[in-house]
Amino acid sequence: MPGLEDLYREIILDHYRAPRNRGELPVPPAHRAEGFNPLCGDEVILYLDVDDGTVTDIRTAGQGCSISQASTSMMSAAVKGKPVEEARRLIRAFKSLMSIHESTLEGGGADGDGDGGYPDEADDVRLGDLEALQGVVKFPVRIKCATLAWNTLQQGLDESVGAAS
């Protein structure tokens, strides 16, 4: 049976206690995206400055459990200053990290997103500190907490690119 230390790794607690990039950005030019997990009430609000194909700045707000808020903080640190395409690769890699293990736990099978490109992509992208979150997959009900920030980022990038074109 997985223990608490699998879930609450030190780096996760550090991001929870001292979240990076908290705050707001003026809208516009920033784009505001909001993610909500109706099951537990976790809320993630992102402010994204996307300029010339790069996430030039990001700020986060919202409230929720340690996993959702640490994941938000770690995500913001990982994508800040990165090209949008790299941010998208990170999103895919992170969701793959969650879904591969999830399907392994469930006894194999395709990942839930039905995107055959994920596993290869995951190998190519360095997740670094984000890999600390992989312990979450041992606690299936908490996976949504970890992916909330990433789904919100994906939605925000889609919307801000859509608004710019």
Partner: protein, 414 residues
């Protein structure tokens, strides 16, 4: 007079699940407000009907069909006795949610018109909110809300105005979040004086205290089996016989008919008019066994036990955590049931629940299907511990110790 007491050690021995361990720790089950555990008497009754007498009800004329039907109908009679109603006034549903939806789809759609008002309270479970939202969107029914007082009761200051033009008052007898017990009778009197009927969500009351639907002077009362030591899949609606007689059917199908032709159908008598299809037979039998169990130990004794244990828990939480814990619910145990919802420092409810699980302690985290209430309280999620017949002061100690572990773990309770 000494209050009736429960022999908790003896009761615990009746619940097989309490013998298991989680993470190497004794299982401390503090989520009975969500769903209760089941005694061996209920498990045996369900096993026995499947092994010895199972057949569909109200169909066959053979021996085991007769036995199955008798067992199913005996459960209805036991339910009626428990609630103080007549047997023909008990409609089995799958839970309170279905019971309230039955009222919304049958009685309300036959009787409410655009502009009619339905009054609900801010402390209702979604089961007693969303059916009325649906009706409001469909029919233009006006939803009016009874607000909360600062001490977690219902603010009845504007009750007369809220009831003016109302056709139905929907109120929970006991809040699943706050623990608050609502005094149903005066609300029913006020509603009736205004020409409105009263629907009581008794999901959190029937398992925990004596209930008498006639003393409440209620018109509709929903209850569920799985919170009162019975199985999931069976609950019910008690409604006044004249209302049930006049109400159109809800679900159509087998059992609920008297006759069906190519042109149409006529309905069966109540309560079967509302029980389309093969009902949850073994589940009803299990519910009957649960009622036998509760009545044998005595609902007065259940209430006294929970009242005492709730006081013990409130005192223990106060003593150990003081201002670091905010409890959302009345402090006076005469005004509350055993569900205790709280915020604990900065620790999110899900993190608390996760950490105390490591100690074998099961508590609920989240919005408890009462988001209008959570908004009124200004919180997103709370942790909830709730007590029942098989809990004792050792469980309170286990809760407090596990919460202390959560505080240590997160280390920055503010």
């Amino acid at each position: 007079m000494t209050p009736p007491t429960l022999d908790v050690a003896r009761i615990q021995a009746d619940f097989p699940i309490l013998k298991r361990q989680v993470h190497g720790k004794r299982l401390v089950y503090l989520d009975s407000a969500s769903s209760s555990q089941k005694p061996i008497q209920v498990l045996d009754a369900m096993d026995r009907i499947y092994r010895e007498s199972y057949a569909n009800v109200h169909r066959g004329v053979y021996t085991i069909a007769e036995e199955s039907t008798a067992a199913y109908e005996a459960a209805r009679a036991k339910t009626a006795t428990l609630l103080g109603g007549d047997t023909s006034e008990i409609v089995f549903t799958k839970n309170v949610t279905e019971a309230i939806n039955l009222v919304a789809y049958s009685w309300a759609r036959a009787n409410l018109r655009e502009g009619d008002a339905v009054v609900v309270t801010e402390m209702e479970h979604h089961a007693n909110v969303v059916p009325w939202h649906i009706l409001s969107e469909e029919r233009g029914i006006e939803l009016r809300w009874i607000p909360l007082t600062d001490d977690f009761g219902l603010d009845l200051t504007d009750l007369d105005r809220l009831l003016d033009g109302a056709r139905l008052l929907c109120v929970t007898a006991a809040s699943n979040v706050l623990g608050t017990l609502n005094d149903v009778r005066p609300l029913a009197d006020a509603a009736h004086a205004a020409g409105a009927l009263v629907l009581v969500d008794a999901a959190q009351a029937v398992p925990h205290m004596p209930v008498d639907v006639r003393a409440w002077d209620a018109d509709f009362v929903g209850f569920t089996g799985h919170k009162m030591l019975g199985p999931s899949g069976v609950g019910g609606l008690w409604a006044r016989a004249d209302l049930l007689d006049a109400m159109p059917p809800f679900l159509g199908g087998g059992e609920m008919i008297r006759d069906v032709t190519t042109e149409g159908f006529t309905t069966n008598e109540v309560p079967w008019k509302f029980e389309a299809g093969t009902p949850p037979i073994a589940e009803a039998v299990g519910l009957g066994a649960a009622i036998d169990y509760l009545q044998a130990i005595g609902l007065d004794a259940v209430r006294a036990h929970e009242r005492q244990l709730t006081q013990c828990a409130l005192d223990a939480l106060d003593a150990r955590f003081g201002d670091r814990m905010t409890i959302y619910g009345p402090r006076d145990v005469d005004r509350r049931g055993s569900a205790i919802s709280f915020l604990f420092g900065d620790i999110h409810a899900h993190d608390i629940s996760q950490v105390v699980d490591e100690e074998g302690v099961c508590v609920r985290a989240g919005h408890h299907c009462a988001k209008p209430l959570m908004r009124a309280l200004g919180v997103v999620a709370t942790t909830r511990a709730s007590f029942y017949v098989y809990n004792d002061e050792d469980d309170v100690d286990a809760l407090v110790d596990a919460l202390a572990r959560a505080e240590d773990f997160f280390g920055f309770v503010g």
